[in-house]
């Protein structure tokens, strides 16, 4: 965690077990908040709240971008950067737009939300029994933010790549699933996964299906109609897809036209709903393509 200033890093290390820290929030001139074992709490050191300064925020950004902001400018426009080991840093500040109204960058950064992924082997063990029942089933993983969707997805990818003969292609748009750095995946996604990073799902799916002939395509965060159409294209080309989506329940998907469309088109043969109730990755339900509850 070299991206944290010494003051904040030592406060966390002195008081908490880092392996249970899921998120760190730095807000200018405000107390540092950490998500520890699924619960948000103020960072306390020597009985005092630790306050984040603008210097702490700038330090984190400079170290995270390795003094090469240009290498991350595309991500920054989207409001985040992802660095090695899949650490994602959400950025809040002033958006700078060009004459065409498109956001060019973010300046005067005032908050950072540092999400720290953890690899949890076999967290998807129960789900895999339903996903790999009679071949691979296209699967949608539904969960609210912070409920462990990506960790879950990564475990699925790793299991399929390592323990089955299927070809796995991962569309890692935001560099959070495999987090490739210098050509090497810094997070384990299995020895036989092909990873396409830092591009849209539409491009990754088209190029992946044409060039890599996957049996299953894995991606994170379907978030728009465009992503939904890409998923449907995938299904129609005979390639299975395993994806995640933000949502609290199956009903929440029905409220959005494009996600409801995916359900109606039976794009997915399995829908797994997770929550944070008993910690990240809590199973709420598993449905089949006809929305029958099977777990």
């Amino acid at each position: 965690m070299e991206i944290l200033s010494e003051r904040i890093l030592s406060a966390i290390e002195n008081n908490y077990n880092f392996s249970n820290v899921y998120e760190i929030r730095l807000r200018r001139d405000s107390p540092v908040v950490i998500n520890y074992a699924g619960r948000n709490r103020f960072l306390i050191n020597n009985n005092n709240q630790v306050i984040a300064s603008i210097e702490d925020i700038n330090f984190t950004l400079n170290v995270a971008t390795k003094n090469s902001l240009y290498a991350y400018s595309d991500q920054i426009k989207s409001g985040f950067i992802t660095i090695e080991n899949g650490i994602r840093i959400g950025i809040a500040g002033e958006c700078v737009t060009g004459e065409d109204g498109v956001v060019k960058t973010i300046k005067n950064v005032t908050s950072l939300a540092i999400r720290i992924p953890h690899e949890i082997d076999n967290c998807a063990h129960t789900a895999l029994a339903f996903i790999l029942n009679g071949g691979i089933k296209s699967t949608l993983i539904v969960a609210p933010p912070g409920a462990g969707k990506t960790t879950f997805l990564r475990d699925i990818a790793r299991h399929i790549a390592d323990k089955t003969p299927y070809n796995v292609t991962i569309a890692d748009e935001r560099m959070e699933i495999a987090s490739v750095s210098g050509g090497v995946a810094t997070l384990s996604v299995g020895k036989t996964s092909d990873i396409i990073s830092k591009t849209t799902k539409d491009y990754a799916f088209s190029y992946g299906i044409r060039s890599l002939a996957p049996d299953v395509l894995i991606c994170d965060e379907l978030a728009s109609e465009k992503d939904a159409l890409s998923a449907l294209k995938c299904k129609r080309s005979g390639v299975k897809i395993i994806a995640t989506i933000h949502g609290a329940s199956l009903d929440s998907l029905k409220n959005e036209s494009w996600s409801n469309f995916l359900i109606k088109e039976k794009c997915f043969e399995r829908i797994i709903v997770l929550s944070n109730k008993s910690g990240p990755g809590t199973y709420e339900a598993i449905y089949d393509e006809n929305l029958n509850l099977i777990y």
């Binding site: 290498a71 400018s73 595309d74």
Partner: protein, 155 residues
């Protein structure tokens, strides 16, 4: 006495080489910097490779490579402090401003900044080349000549 005169001539000759080395080093530095800038421009515009990786992978003669590595290691602190003494203050400021632009701009601005600095460095390459052509032989001859005169006077 003859030995002393020989030593004076040798010493004055070596002094000339030492004084002139500043111009040799300046010429070599700006020539190497020019090549490096072209290398990073194409890598950044095409691959958006981070600066530290560009420096690690850049193949060049040892002295300039060591300089680049110390720049890489001082990006978060004072780059100006590690710049060679044969650069003028203005040249140091220009270099620091350029490095700062790499750390803080997006790709298009970074390329613009590299292009601008490339043009400055290109002028320096020409200027230091001319300087070296004129001043190095002049200094070496003057110092050697001075040593010979002193030796002759002593004899």
């Amino acid at each position: 006495m003859e030995i002393v005169c020989v030593l004076i001539v040798v010493f004055s000759g070596l002094s000339g080489v030492f004084i002139a080395s500043r111009y040799r080093e300046r010429k070599a530095f700006f020539a190497s910097l020019y090549n490096f800038l072209n290398y990073i421009k194409s890598n950044i515009s095409f691959y958006k490779t981070r600066l530290e990786i560009l420096i690690d992978n850049y193949d060049c003669e040892t002295k300039f490579k060591n300089f680049l590595i110390s720049v890489k290691n001082n990006l978060s602190s004072k780059v100006k402090n590690i710049l060679p003494s044969y650069l003028t203050n203005q040249e140091k400021d220009e270099f620091v401003k350029f490095v700062s632009s790499l750390q803080n701009f997006d790709v298009s601005e970074t390329i613009r900044s590299i292009d601008f600095y490339l043009s400055l460095v290109k002028n320096k390459v020409n200027q230091t080349g001319e300087e070296a052509k004129i001043k190095i032989p002049l200094i070496e001859k003057l110092t050697l000549g001075a040593g010979l005169i002193v030796a002759i006077i002593l004899i």
